[in-house]
Amino acid sequence: MKKAIVFNKVKKNFGKLEALKGIDLTIDEGEFFALLGPNGAGKSTLINILAGLMKPTSGSIKVMGHDVIVDYQNARRSLGIVPQELVFDPFFNVREMLRFQAGYFGKGRENDDWIDEVIEGLDLQDKANTNMRMLSGGMKRRALIAQALVHKPPVIILDEPTAGVDVELRKKLWQFIKKLNQKGHTIVLTTHYLEEAETLCSRVAMMDQGKVVALDKTRNLLKRFSAKNLNLRLDLQDKKIPASIQRLIQMTDQNFVTFLLKDITEVEFIISELKKSKIAILDMELKNSDLENVFLKLTGSKK
């Protein structure tokens, strides 16, 4: 299998802060890969180095075999990057922007059919001749994605692509991106929305504090950390949760308490202990473990 992206011991320091502490990661061609992690984990720094917007302190990255520094022109030809911020050029309309972007990559009029295809795929036909300034946030997001695709890059990076995008549009975007993946494009996405990674991505890397803390097939990760969550809404008032079940708590948020269960029989135990302490249960929900759990466990953070 050919390698789409190879990160080799990538380090980045900002003064004394070690933003990336040696990232080793290989993403195969055709993968739908997710890069997860809390704010400040180093995802965006890693993407910026990949894109050539930043230089690594040490280490190297190859895209489709091309080093992003030594052979940056071919590396950038192979990459389509959708930036996180909704940046746009206020002087031009959508189609002009797309033509310019293609031109920077050495693609001229012969590329117009592909631009039309991208415009259609992202449902931008009605807005193709509208100035970027006049587009809504969701439309700007689509235009940004279109811009990343104009040169038909084999590897597509989406940095938080659905931040601030409504549910309807989010669905459409994923449909379009899934189609690209089926056509053979490698997709890498960073996201806060763990459920997106869970349903879309075949493999997941989790980053925390500049390191990859887990890397596996999504379903393996879920299996490895298989457990059930018991979400309760309690009428706590001034009472305290009994010590006997404190150790099962995964997180609390005022009256909402999540218990992490290894065994379903623990439900009974928790309920009886709460009864003993005269804490009323207002609502209850039992859930299978999701990436969020895995993530919290790995990063050891409690909200």
Binding site: M54, K55, V87, F100, G103, G106
Partner: protein, 257 residues
């Protein structure tokens, strides 16, 4: 990578830069032309009978080449500097940084766009000026040469300013504390021979002076300094600035962290 791709990349970036100022032509061309014409009307009216710089050249005619060149220089600077600072503040500069465009292509596109805007503004002022006065054009090639090298010098300077500044007020400081004094202390409105010795010496350190003086020679065949010397000085300054700019762009200074 091949030559055709690189050519198309440079051409596209140049076209984008040209279209950018053309979209706001009222602000980028009409405004400086009107300003220059106002200078012309007022100064020539007030000073016409008081200042005589060269024999056979009336003051209004003397003023015009200086005004053309001053506007050309200021607009060449404004084009690259404002485009860059806007793209940086808006964040859309990434659309260029993510592409295979090399630092040399980047430089050429911004440089040529600046020259085009400067020369275009200058040409418009020239055409307006013809309504007021008969202007000789003794050495068209010298006029053309100084216009191009002047536009190139200030376009390059604008790239440096645009890369260096990261806020609009820093750019305004550049305009007000560097570009404006240099353009006014350059002999646009007078011959530096009419200045006290100290200011004469100071003016001789100002590259704007040589650009304007040489440009004026192209019209009247008379100047304060030999045009070849002016051209050499201006070219040398351009080479220095261009080397600095290329070094900045190559290293990714302030553009690639």
């Amino acid at each position: 990578m091949n030559f055709k791709d690189e050519f198309l990349g440079t051409w596209t970036l140049l076209k984008k830069e040209l279209l950018r100022f053309w979209r706001v032509v009222f602000q980028t061309v009409a405004a400086p032309v009107i300003t220059a014409v106002l200078y012309l009307l007022i100064f020539s009216h007030v000073l016409a009978n008081h200042v005589k710089v060269y024999d056979n050249v009336n003051y209004t005619a003397f003023l015009i080449p200086g005004l053309i060149m001053m506007s050309l220089l200021q607009n060449a600077f404004a084009n690259s500097s404002s485009s860059l600072i806007q793209s940086k503040v808006m964040g859309n500069i990434v659309f260029i940084l993510l592409t295979p465009i090399t630092y040399l292509q980047f430089f050429l596109a911004f440089l040529i766009a600046s020259i085009v805007r400067g020369v275009f503004v200058g040409t418009c002022i020239y055409l307006f000026a013809l309504l007021f006065v008969d202007l000789p054009m003794l050495h068209p090639w010298i006029i053309f040469g100084f216009a191009i090298i002047g536009g190139a010098l200030l376009g390059t300077f604008g790239i440096i300013a645009g890369i260096w500044a990261h806020r609009f007020d820093q750019m305004a400081a550049f305009q007000n504390f560097v570009i404006m004094p240099l353009s006014f202390l350059s002999g646009v409105f007078y011959s530096i021979h009419s200045l006290p010795p100290f200011w004469q010496k100071l003016s001789q350190l100002n590259p704007f002076f040589y650009m304007i003086d040489g440009f004026r020679y192209g019209f009247f065949g008379q100047s304060d300094v030999a045009p070849l010397l002016s051209l050499s000085i201006v070219t040398a300054v351009f080479i220095v600035l261009a080397s600095i700019t290329l070094g900045m762009l190559k290293s990714g200074y302030k553009l690639r962290g």
